[in-house]
């Protein structure tokens, strides 16, 4: 699957969409869902929770394992995708279309440190042995 060029990425396999209003939408990448296998449960943060960059803020659980999801940047949670509670398999079907939560950035400068699609591809290539 190709890596959307309009998104930013982390080395820990989160994707980040920078919205027009300055907030960011976060999900896990297609590569992450493929590694995890069939998703069965997603534990989301609460609206109003604040996280620092790289802090654990959600858990994606598959039939195989539980994986922490990290805040790609610091910020406050302004919305969560509660629909995933009843249909976590949506992440398997469309990882880039299934967001987990939205953040109001605490420090927008952190966005500059995220990977672009080409940079994320390099991360995947280096993991692929």
């Amino acid at each position: 699957m190709s890596i959307p060029s309009d998104l930013k990425y982390t080395r820990s396999h989160e994707w980040v969409k920078i919205e027009a209003d300055g907030t960011v939408t976060v999900g896990i990448t297609d590569h992450a869902q493929e590694l995890l296998g069939d998703m069965v449960f997603v534990e989301l943060p609460k609206v109003g929770d604040s996280f620092s960059q790289k802090q654990e803020c959600a858990v994606a659980e598959s039939v195989k394992a539980a994986a922490d999801v990290y805040a790609p940047i610091s910020g406050e949670v302004i919305e969560v995708n509660s629909a995933l509670a009843d249909s976590p398999e949506k992440i398997n079907q469309d990882a880039f279309g299934s967001w987990l939560f939205k953040l109001k950035p605490g420090n927008p400068a952190e966005l500059d440190g995220l990977l672009d699609a080409a940079g994320y591809q390099e991360v995947l290539d280096s993991e692929d042995h």
Partner: protein, 363 residues
């Protein structure tokens, strides 16, 4: 270097996701573990279990040797082909392995042991043989492959593939086996569904696997095997039990014969023991997923207890998380306990397992 079964190439051709399973390069799934699980519950799936090891025990006095070697009583199996599930114990009553014994003739029994314990098991059996019955011949059968075909339609699909097998196996009851040409066919399994476990010469395995696939049997990996056996309430060696636990703390009292006069290795230790723990089934009431090693807390008779999940996961058939947990004796079905999951305490209900049998939810 990972060990490979005779089907390794075949799995790769079928796009299996391969993983290191205790030193064996094995298929985890072929795309979707959940689909494979449902296929076995509703139709038919097949598992490569060639990493498990058949061991033939031959010679005069094989039965006497097994009466001493294993905890269940082989005197229960007198019809040729009949199988018996049992533990093999240390003198201290710890579980060396769980295995199936097949009675073939008075001078030929076959046992099938777990992959991860195979070397240890064979060494132990040889040591006991040397001490108790030096005349017996013990032969590990790495020349064999083993395929489990499981599901409500599994037997019918095997009948389509092996000529003459319907006539040869239709009358087999659960835990009986027969031999047909190169095929050793047993009506056993590790999924809670009907089906066969088939032992055959390694070189014939790829062709047989492909024929089953052509007959509509879905390949299924170790992932589905684990969720199926957990739903079926079947213990996994190394997880739900090991040498530090006895069958009496592992939900396996029914496999231990303490009543007969027969002496067996570990018997005295079991008779002297006073188990304080049991294996119980849990169904999670809150949202989340139970996993092995999570702590279980609760109260029994006003006393706080602490236990641990030995196997946990998501049950695709029930669509909720379930687990086996080692907890205090006295906790009973219907009781509520708490499971510590990360920073939360989730509520779980104690249930009598199996959770699922023959496609039906029992809890």
């Amino acid at each position: 270097m990972l060990k490979k079964t005779p089907l390794n190439e075949t799995h790769r051709q079928m796009n299996a996701k391969m993983v290191d399973f205790g030193g064996w390069d094995m298929p985890l799934h072929y795309g979707s573990q959940l689909e494979e699980h449902h296929k076995v519950r509703q139709d038919a799936g097949m598992f490569d279990v060639s990493h498990m090891l058949p061991v033939d025990i031959k010679g005069d006095g094989t039965r006497d040797f097994l009466r001493k070697l294993v905890a269940n009583n082989v005197d229960k199996i007198t019809i040729p082909g009949k199988a018996l599930y049992t533990c093999m114990l240390t003198p201290q009553g710890g579980i060396i392995d769980d295995l199936i014994v097949y009675f073939l003739t008075e001078s030929w029994f076959r046992i099938v042991v777990n992959a991860g314990t195979a070397d240890k098991d064979v060494a132990w059996i040889l040591k006991q043989r040397d001490a108790l019955a030096p005349g017996l011949e013990i032969t590990p059968r790495r020349d064999m492959a083993m395929i489990a075909v499981q599901g409500p339609n599994a037997r019918a699909k095997v009948w389509q593939v092996i000529p003459g097998s319907q006539a040869a196996t239709e009358e087999l009851k659960i835990f009986q086996s027969t031999t047909l040409n190169h095929f050793f066919i047993a009506r056993t399994g590790y999924t809670g569904e009907d089906g066969f476990e088939i032992i055959l010469p390694a070189e014939e395995a790829p062709t047989f696997w492909k024929s089953l696939h052509a007959a509509g049997v879905a390949p299924a990996g170790l992932g589905a095997r684990d969720t199926l056996r957990l739903e079926a309430g079947m213990n996994l060696y190394g997880q739900d039990m090991d040498e530090s636990t006895s069958p009496l703390e592992s939900g396996l009292n029914w496999t231990v014969d303490l009543k007969s006069e027969r002496d067996f290795i570990g018997k005295q230790a079991l008779l002297d023991s006073n188990p304080t723990q049991q294996l119980a089934g849990l169904v999670l009431l809150d949202r989340g997923v139970l996993r092995s090693h999570q702590k279980v807390v609760g109260q029994v008779n006003g006393q706080a207890f602490e236990g641990e999940i030995t196997s946990g996961g998501f049950s695709p058939t029930i669509n909720q998380s379930i687990a086996l947990a080692r907890i205090a004796i006295g906790v009973s079905p219907g009781d509520e306990v708490q499971v510590l999951v990360r920073d939360k305490q989730l509520r779980a209900k104690v249930v009598k397992y199996p959770f699922v049998r023959n496609g039906k939810v029992l809890v």
